[in-house]
């Protein structure tokens, strides 16, 4: 029983693969096509929807109820007949073929009494079961499908084995069954930017690239785009975003020169120990003995500051009046006021200061005790009141900071306006911040969002920050706002009550841009979004084409293809340096670059998506050429070369792939076999059960004489292991001619001659990598479906399930029908139903 559940793949799929794939069992409309009216309502009919409602299960009932309103209203009648025809066809095949087959081959173990492996098929096998009831078990059907696809069931020991055509019939029927599902783009969530996306977006937002680019996300935790992305924002992450924003803005935004004008009459003061508030009209203040003007000033940078005091005094006793300026209690300068009250003059001093906000006070230094009298005032317009004693009036204090550094090029570009003639600070701020926030949020701002951004500028402005520092504060707020850190949707009119809606043009631009470039939309995409034309099929197709030929498409290779092929592990791959001293940092990089070049090469029309399995070319530089055994290639640049060696080609024989599927000091046929199954054929073997020692555990005296192959075959003595390993191991041994860093060899890690013979289920024999690749090529359509599913998962940022399977079927069929091109796949994905729609739970 244990075996039945856990062990996959004994490889009948290999045999079955030679059978031609029957055309789709249904005639339903393809959701991936774009009809003329905005986005299509996809497959199915009212009939289907209503059934799906019944089948959806209680937990989904609510969302179906909501979406059904949409579907029912948009569905047209002709397809309704198709829908019920589809159900009838599925039902007919079920009764005539599928049910008898399942009863015959599966019913003996998976019935209500035995339910081996916790699988009970009796509800599906009862002749009393209606088609509705049969359809209701989608999870069970999915399980049946994967067991049959992998060929695991029925177990080998079972005498009754279905024929290949019977298996095929079941697969075709299941495909038809899947098509009866309600179209659903999947629950759409606001996605946080991944680390690479964050870095790219910051650079694009500030318009820097190449040497000027910043690695803003360097301190963020590593992550990967696609299923299982960690979308949350922990306190640690919040802090890192703030620090990153600080670092970026400190680099790009230079503080203006401080030029602060203070009117002492407006400022609070202590006069003879009594608090005296300043007057808003700017009435200047007449100082007497113990008066002290108090305020604070923000000094933006380290350097020499010039203080200018305009003052006049009435003295007595022949001693000139002295005023001291103090910052945070320390005297930083002193002036002697000789001008008379009626004719005030300007007195200047300079001092070096550290940056920061400091308390500023102006103190009357040399009063005489007997002359202590309350302050008098003069109005700015009127004549001074006659002081009874030594008095001083300070008309203004001007602080001029050290000359600012020249604004960076980024700042000059961002600061489309500065306050000055004809434009006030808040208008200038708006003309800078509104376009910036629109780009940062990747959609037009709502009124409250604009008001928020401007309020942060106003906050800084009210605190006497320089204009550029206030802008900087607002930019910082934008960079830690959810609308920037997450991809949020624009709200379209009339979508409030609908669960499933087409996405807007801005959201489409964003999806497209992050999928292909890993960054925010560029000007051109924003333009299409603004003109609301991006969703039009010809515009979307043209833009996608443009994006595919832009250098930024490299993102698809680094963020999608490299993790898929495991080449992102190369940099940190543990390797036995003694055994493989040539595996330097440079070689690792070259292996990685080869993967990038190969994947990007697939976008050329001359290359096919199936080149991944086998190709007659490779990309090499001087370092990897040595691994390939070529001598004529020079230099660090990747060059496309034609392979004369039939045993090389595709990703399977790529040195990087061979290295990441090896152990530190030897090859691992199991890992290599697993790579082919999981990454190319989407047949991930189940994890090994507990209490099974790893292979090298058997490295004992008794086994020392055995070859790696013989020892690996020990695995297969255990029936718990055999069912997976009988496919995994032959594939891996087919690559034994390549060592742990991908060089050709005739003797293995133990000095024995390499035996690359293998036999796959279905008596498919091979004796070299080339012959194995030939057999794999017979399963190229399964590979196309795998890469379709992987790329779709990447594009949508979530696991594929339910209706997605139908979409994947359609997309891969289209890619196959149109000649196996990667750009075709990308075009199909960006025009697919899930990509163009959003499912929102209100």
């Amino acid at each position: 029983m244990f075996m039945c559940v856990t062990c996959l793949i004994d490889g009948r799929a290999w045999a079955a693969s030679t059978v031609a794939v029957a055309p789709s069992a249904t005639s339903l409309q393809r959701p991936s096509a774009l009809p003329a009216d905005r986005y299509p309502s996809p497959t199915g009919s009212d009939d289907v929807v209503c059934r799906a409602l019944v089948h959806g299960g209680m937990s989904l009932l609510l969302s179906f109820l909501m979406s059904s309103a949409l579907w029912c209203s948009e569905r047209s009648s002709p397809s309704s007949r198709d829908g019920s025809n589809a159900i009838n066809a599925v039902n007919a095949t079920y009764v005539s073929t599928i049910r008898p087959m399942l009863s015959k081959y599966c019913g003996e173990c998976h019935n209500a009494e035995k339910h081996k492996g916790d699988i009970n098929l009796s509800p599906l096998l009862s002749s009393a079961a209606t088609i509705d009831q049969v359809l209701n078990h989608s999870a069970l059907w999915q399980k049946v499908g994967s067991e049959i696809a992998s060929g695991e069931m029925p177990p080998e020991k079972s005498k009754e084995q279905p024929s290949d055509s019977e298996r095929q019939a079941l697969m075709v029927w299941l495909k038809g069954l899947r098509r009866l599902q309600t179209p659903d783009p999947g629950i759409t969530v606001m996605r946080r930017l991944a680390r690479s996306e964050y870095t790219n977006t910051i650079n694009d937002l500030f318009g820097v690239s190449g040497l000027a680019a910043v690695n803003a996300g360097a301190d963020l935790a590593p992550d990967s785009i696609g299923a299982g992305f960690d979308n949350s924002l922990s306190p640690l992450l919040a802090e890192k975003y703030l620090l990153a924003a600080d670092a970026v803005l400190d680099r790009f935004i230079v503080s203006d020169q401080m030029n602060l004008q203070l009117i002492p009459g407006q400022l609070p003061a202590l006069i003879a120990g009594v608090e005296d508030k300043g007057k808003p009209d700017g009435t200047s203040r007449l100082f007497s003995t113990s008066a002290d003007i108090i305020t604070q000033a923000n000094f933006p940078a380290e350097g020499t500051y010039t203080f200018r005091l305009k003052a006049g005094a009435e003295t007595a006793g022949g001693e000139p009046i002295r005023l001291a300026i103090r910052l945070d209690g320390m005297v930083v300068g002193e002036v002697t006021v000789k001008a008379v009250l009626a004719k005030s003059a300007t007195y200047t001093f300079k001092t070096k200061l550290d940056p920061g906000r400091k308390a500023l006070s102006v103190l009357y230094v040399n009063p005489k005790a007997v002359e202590t009298v309350a302050a008098a005032t003069k109005t700015t317009a009127g004549k001074p009141a006659t002081p009874k004693n030594r008095s001083v009036v300070v008309d203004s204090i001007e602080i001029l900071g050290p000359p600012a550094k020249a604004p960076s090029e980024v700042q000059r570009r961002l600061f489309t306006a500065v306050p000055g003639k004809g434009i006030g600070p808040s208008d200038a701020a708006r003309s800078i911040l509104e376009p910036f926030a629109t780009r940062a949020y990747r959609r037009p701002l709502r009124a409250d969002e604009l008001a928020f951004v401007l309020s942060i500028f106003a906050l800084g402005d009210a605190q006497d920050l320089t204009f550029s520092d206030s802008i900087k504060l607002a930019l910082k707020a934008i960079l830690i706002s959810p609308q920037f850190l997450y991809r949020t949707s624009e709200e379209l009119p009339g979508e409030k009550d609908k669960a499933v809606t087409p996405i807007g043009d801005y959201e489409l631009a964003t999806r497209l841009s992050y999928f292909l470039w890993g960054t925010m939309p560029d000007q051109e995409l924003f333009r299409c979004a603004q003109e609301r034309t991006l969703h039009q099929p010809e515009v979307l197709s043209a833009q996608t084409k443009r994006m595919l030929s832009d250098p930024r498409i490299r993102h698809l290779a680094t963020a999608f293809a490299m993790p898929w092929l495991g080449l992102d592990k190369l940099a940190d791959l543990q390797i036995d340096e003694k055994r493989y001293p040539m595996m330097t940092k440079e070689l690792r990089q070259a292996m990685y670059d080869e993967g990038i070049a190969f994947f990007l090469g697939l976008l050329d029309q001359e290359n096919l998506i199936t080149d991944v399995i086998d190709s007659d070319y490779a990309y090499v530089n001087a370092l990897t050429a040595k691994i390939y055994g070529m001598t004529e290639v020079k230099g660090p640049k990747m060059q496309k070369v034609t392979l004369s060696d039939k045993n090389r080609g595709g990703v399977i024989t790529m040195p990087g792939v061979l290295a990441v599927t090896s152990m530190p000091s030897r090859t691992s046929p199991v890992k290599r076999g697993k790579f082919i199954l999981a990454q190319l054929l989407d047949e991930t073997p189940a994890p090994p059960p507990a209490d099974v020692p790893e292979l090298s555990d058997q490295n004992t005296a008794k086994n020392a004489a055995l070859t790696l192959r013989q020892r690996t075959e020990l695995h297969r003595e255990n029936p718990a292991c055999a069912s997976c390993h009988r496919v995994m191991d032959p594939l891996g041994f087919g690559l034994e001619n390549f060592d742990a860093i991908g060089r050709w060899r005739d003797r293995d890690d133990f000095g024995l001659s390499v035996d690359a013979m293998g036999e796959l289920p279905g008596k498919q024999r091979f004796s070299s990598p080339s012959e194995m690749q030939h057999i794999l090529m017979s399963r190229k359509d399964a590979f196309v479906r795998t890469i379709t599913k992987r790329m779709m998962t990447f594009a949508m940022g979530r696991q594929m399930s339910g209706y997605d399977e139908v979409v994947i079927d359609d997309l891969s069929d289209a890619v196959i029908a149109n000649g196996y091109h990667l750009d075709e796949l990308v075009q199909r994905i960006v025009t697919s139903y899930p990509f163009l729609h959003r499912h929102t739970i209100k």
């Binding site: 244990f2 559940v5 969530v189 606001m190 301190d219 935790a221 992550d223 696609g226 299923a227 299982g228 992305f229 960690d230 949350s232 924002l233 922990s234 306190p235 640690l236 992450l237 919040a238 802090e239 703030l242 609070p268 202590l270 608090e275 108090i294 604070q296 923000n298 933006p300 103090r326 945070d328 209690g329 920061g356 308390a359 006070s361 409250d448 800084g460 006497d464 504060l473 910082k476 707020a477 830690i480 706002s481 959810p482 997450y486 949020t488 543990q574 152990m663 991930t684 994890p687 059960p689 507990a690 020692p693 555990d697 490295n699 004992t700 979530r798 399930s801 929102t840 739970i841 209100k842």
Partner: protein
């Protein structure tokens, strides 16, 4: 209330060997004790996790009596000899997660190891996301964290991320994270010691200050006035960053009405993260101001009952696992010593066998045959376990050596060191190696081996939380129902 010595910038920097900006360190002060006003030192909690359990026959003592520094110890426990009297070893603890994951094939196994250890909840596939339960350290962080600049500090040795999905449909987080802020939010451990140091002693000084006050405090002689002005402003002692973050928060709340139900949760997590940041800015500024005030009043070091701050030496590139572990342990101890945090964890050791000549994935060594002494997997596994135990001993000894008021830091701490698996080869999650160290301010009876636990893992965690002064929920995880009877 005891006052701590102030950290001098020089003391800490001299060990670093590199120039590292530590603006706050010179103004380090110490947070107040819980309002209870008790004279005792706060209890610090540390969780140290290693993976894949331990080979039982080389780990567990033959009986309770033989767990004694003077007796022969099982080989794996040997490094603990010097601190044995400070520890409590507990056997046969039940964790509820054994083989109850969604896959019947003992799939919980290695995944439950990290994820279930402090949550006592099942791992679920959740479409590649995280769905488990809050972890015990985060319960503590929520409550004890309000007294400190950092509610908790999660350190890891390997930089493995929590994003992504494993090939069998489980979130990667289950493998790499032991701490969960909520059922759906795993915590990424900080693996860069420099970043951890900066996080412990960061400064907000670079941010423009709001008018009214700042970390330097009102220094003018007429200070009365300045503070009056600040009070009138309604926002005394805050930087513009704090006010700005406030406004971002407020605005982000308004975004809730524009997003879907699913996104509301995401947004709430965002708000939660940002709120913590805001509190942290406030706490740091308060500490800076407090330290500044103390210093301006001529506060001198009160040396004697407290050790000088320990010196942390930053690792060079290419440092081996044990060197890196010690840096992380030192940072953690420094965090406890300076009361920057009271809750911490060290986990995610990664492939740490380099210094033992082990290059392979350490996991595979746990699938060994303990009955064959020459099994290379067994030999490797025992070497690794010995290495782990040396690190556990190190962090315990470090805390023991630090004077902390009336006793040692260890006396005022509870360290839980262990694994979430019994033995890797069995994929079982019960009978896990469990070492409690420290006396928890007199609430833990150490120097014992309890061969047969009376409580479950959940009870143990509840018992630890309660002893650290936390209010404990009626139930914790799937099997915590009472305060563990095993600890005192």
């Amino acid at each position: 209330m005891p006052r701590f010595p102030m950290l001098s910038r020089r003391t800490c920097l001299k060990g670093l060997g590199v120039s590292l900006a530590l603006p706050l360190l010179e103004t380090m002060s110490w947070a107040a004790n819980p309002p209870s006003g008790s004279a005792q030192q706060p209890t610090r909690l540390l969780f140290v996790h290693w993976k894949n359990g331990a080979v039982a026959s080389r780990f567990w003592p033959k009986d309770e009596k033989s767990y004694h520094p003077a007796m022969a110890l099982p080989p794996t426990l040997e490094p603990l000899r010097a601190v044995l009297s400070e520890t409590l070893l507990i056997g046969q603890i039940k964790n509820p997660c054994q083989n109850l994951g969604e896959d019947k094939n003992g799939a919980a196994g290695h995944k439950a190891d990290s994820a279930c250890w402090l949550t006592c909840a099942h791992v679920k596939k959740a479409n590649g996301g995280v769905d488990i339960g809050i972890s015990a350290d985060q319960v503590a962080a929520e409550q004890l964290g309000q007294y400190t600049v950092l509610p908790s500090l999660e350190l890891g040795l390997a930089g493995h991320g929590i994003s992504g999905i494993e090939e069998h449909g489980y979130s990667k987080a289950y493998h790499t994270a032991i701490s969960y802020r909520s059922a759906t939010q795993a915590i990424q451990a900080e693996s860069n010691p420099r970043a951890a140091l900066e996080r412990l002693f960061s400064s907000r000084r670079s941010a423009p200050q709001k008018r009214g006050a700042g970390p330097t405090g009102p220094k003018v002689e007429t200070g009365k006035f300045a503070s009056a002005a600040a009070a009138a402003d309604g926002n005394a002692e805050s930087s513009l960053d704090k006010v700005m973050v406030d406004k971002v928060l407020e605005h982000a709340k308004s975004l809730r009405s524009h997003v879907s139900t699913a996104d509301k949760r995401t947004l709430d997590e965002y708000l939660d993260g940002l709120q913590s940041l805001e509190k942290r800015i406030v706490a740091i500024e308060r500490q800076q101001a407090q330290a500044e005030a103390e210093r301006s009043q001529g506060g001198k070091k009160k040396v004697g009952v407290f050790s000088d701050p320990i010196i942390v030496t930053m690792p060079m590139d290419g440092a081996v696992f044990s060197e890196r572990f010690r840096v992380m342990a030192d940072l953690m101890i420094l965090g406890f010593q300076s009361d920057v945090t009271r809750v911490g964890s060290i986990s995610n050791f990664g492939d740490c066998g380099g210094e033992l000549g082990i290059k392979e994935d350490v996991h595979q060594f746990s699938h060994n045959d303990p009955n064959r002494a020459d099994d290379p997997m067994l030999i490797g596994c025992l070497k690794l376990e010995l290495l782990y135990m040396q690190q556990v001993a190190y962090v315990i000894q470090r805390a023991k050596d630090i004077k902390d008021g009336s006793g040692s830091l260890l006396d005022h701490s509870i360290f839980l060191c262990g694994s979430g698996m019994g033995e890797g080869r069995h994929h079982n999650n019960d009978d896990c190696p469990t070492i409690v160290a420290g006396r928890g301010n007199g609430t833990i009876r150490t120097g014992r081996y309890l061969s047969q636990a009376k409580g479950t893992q959940g009870d143990l965690l509840m018992g630890i939380l309660a002893r650290a002064g936390c209010t404990v929920p009626k139930q914790f995880g799937l099997n915590g129902t009472k305060l563990s009877p095993d600890l005192s």
